[in-house]
Symmetry: C2
Subunit: 353 residues, 2 copies
DNA sequence: CAAAAAATGATTGGCGTATATCAATACGGC
DNA sequence: GCCGTATTGATATACGCCAATCATTTTTTG
């Protein structure tokens, strides 16, 4: 039993193909009663638009762009890789994705890049965002042109994007705190936190979530004021060194931001009797440190999953379809035992078996 | 610049459309040098087959079947729900999925169901498998008919399936052990484990992984011999009760199998000073227990992700395409802070924002 | 060198939808 | 009943590929 076509619907509804088309693609100028007849026929036959035929006919192409911070940050390298991978795989579905690099976390740079986008004839954009009023004008211009806009990893002003794909950083901080709490087994403790900058919203949120949970559920643990690191490994190295020698009562370290190679190096220098260590984002450094037992936990936001999802959501928005069932994105806890294979060693075939 | 079509390739290669078609869909009867010319032209132009057009033309439909154990097990309810959800969403791409219920974990039942499948004119099957020689004949018959076969959640004899989608249960057990180790903070301890049955391969593997890590990295923790539960909540209830009153030195519980409602109830009866508790699979019971602080950790295999992936992989196998970039499936650690929204409350729209 | 075999070319009719055009009909107000 | 507008019908073409047919050319073989 082949699935019904529009002609079948027309026949069942007792109207012409043209009328069915007018209803289905709501082109207007149709009598209410015809609309009703068509809808009934659609329901009765269980008609579903054949997307292959539709895409072919309307010569659908999906021109996507991703605005990603510039620089050699390990995390965003992972992001860029995954974008390229997915785009290459989806080229058969006429999807193209351009990566536009933006000066990291500078509103002015993002604003300029966004303004350029308007002239680019795109169908959808995913943006590693910032919360700033200065972005509103270019974002409004994009919306005006009918470009689908989503926030990625870091959100945009909500009224200017159709979706946000990323984790809740308060939840990430709470998760880290829970694990630190568990690792104290009821004993008293002292946690040193590190942040890149207090301006970074994600850092602030993680710290907030962390402190909330410790304060509420683990009152016997003290959280020291965070050390500012600018995500600089050198700063983390020296600060951690100082801490380990000078403050022996430190029972846990939690780095909210980046620059973990410095922290790991300092830990490696003492090894014995080190504090419990939690960091964010699974990249080469943190993976290795986890495997070698220099740190205990990595909280990861699964950028690969986020990117795949960004493509899915953008295409659904562009086609005006509803989304497939997608589970919530939550911070993922990695220990040395449940690490996924290194994506650099990933061939798609190897994953199939 | 519109993407090149087969006619463009023909022109560039200096051969006819028919020859290009013969090469692309390797129908044979083509001279080696023609093949080379076509391949060069494909590479030069960057030709990619338009899957929309191809699927339309060959009237592609994907008739899939999922063989899932019968019964009201909360985990497999989750699985069935997700299959229905994804199938309904993919109906626009002419995907149909039938759920075939099989007597739980009985080789005979699975064998019979498999034999039926052969007459069903399917394109792909995902099977919650068993390792048994008795399955080889029907599986070989399926392969003979060109049906794509994958193992789901629990593997099949590897030579009879093209892929396995599920977690490594040894890894799951190791992960649980790591967390139990962390939660002891170097103190001595005593862990009681529970298994459904020793025959169940997944249970045995989890236990094995668990014991490996404890023995190697946490020698101060003792693992007691597992209690057999048949995954029956009543057994877990009484056994846990007895344990909590009779053996106060128990510092952790790890249930490898199902039946957690009984365990949770027993824990709820004492609450104060309870042991550290780790269980598997996020379902209604375990979620609630986690939120209420009756247990500490749930190791989940993300059946929703597994199901989505099963559809993706089956379609890729049927189309003989290569797979999109997919991250490894690893056991996921849930604490009360990083729980995803309850899927029962999931509307697809809500997830978009 | 002729005959057989292999390879190639030329062409066609779908697949189901989108989109456009033009004619035909219905409906409303007066 | 007439006119103008709103609605409907009939029909055609294109999208890119698949699958098939038949004629023609090239290559191989004895």
């Amino acid at each position: 039993m082949p699935s019904p076509t529009l002609s079948d619907v027309a026949q069942a509804a007792g109207v012409s193909y043209a009328t069915v088309d007018r209803v289905i693609n709501n082109r207007g100028n149709v009598a209410a009663k015809s609309i009703a007849k068509v809808n009934e026929a659609v329901a009765a036959l269980g008609y579903v638009r054949n997307v292959a035929a539709a895409n072919l006919s309307r010569k659908r192409v999906y021109r996507l762009a991703f605005l990603i911070p510039k620089g050699s940050n390990a995390f965003f390298n992972r992001v860029r890789d995954q974008i390229a991978r997915v785009a290459s795989h989806q080229s058969a579905e006429r999807v193209t994705a351009e990566i536009i690099e933006v000066s990291a976390f500078a509103v002015a740079g993002l604003e300029a890049s966004l303004s350029d986008l308007v002239h680019q004839d795109l169908d959808g954009v995913a943006i590693v965002g910032l919360q700033s009023e200065r972005l509103e004008k270019p974002l409004a211009a994009l919306r005006e042109k009918g470009v689908a806009v989503i926030g990625l990893v870091s959100d945009l002003p909500p009224e200017f994007r159709s979706a946000y794909i990323g984790i809740d950083n308060i939840v990430a901080g709470r998760t880290a705190a829970r694990m630190v709490g568990v690792a104290h087994a009821g004993q008293t403790g002292m946690v040193q936190t590190f942040v890149g900058s207090t301006d970074a919203r994600d850092h602030a949120e993680r710290l907030q979530g962390f402190c909330e949970v410790i304060a509420k559920d683990y009152p016997q643990i003290t959280v020291r004021d965070p050390i500012m690191t600018k995500d600089d490994p050198a700063v983390l190295l020296s600060q951690t060194r100082g801490l380990l020698s000078g403050t022996p009562d430190t029972t846990a370290l939690y780095n909210v931001g980046a620059g973990n190679s410095g922290l790991v190096q300092a830990i490696g220098e003492i090894r014995a009797n080190r504090p419990f260590c939690v960091v964010h984002e699974l990249v080469a450094h943190s993976r290795q440190a986890l495997q070698e037992g220099l740190i205990d936990l990595v909280i990861d936001q699964r950028p690969d999953v986020e990117i795949s999802r960004a493509f899915t959501v953008l295409r659904a928005l562009i086609d005006d379809r509803d989304l497939p069932p997608l589970a919530d994105l939550m911070p993922t806890i990695y220990v040395r035992d449940n690490l996924p294979a290194d994506p650099l060693a990933n061939t798609t075939e190897a994953q199939a078996t």
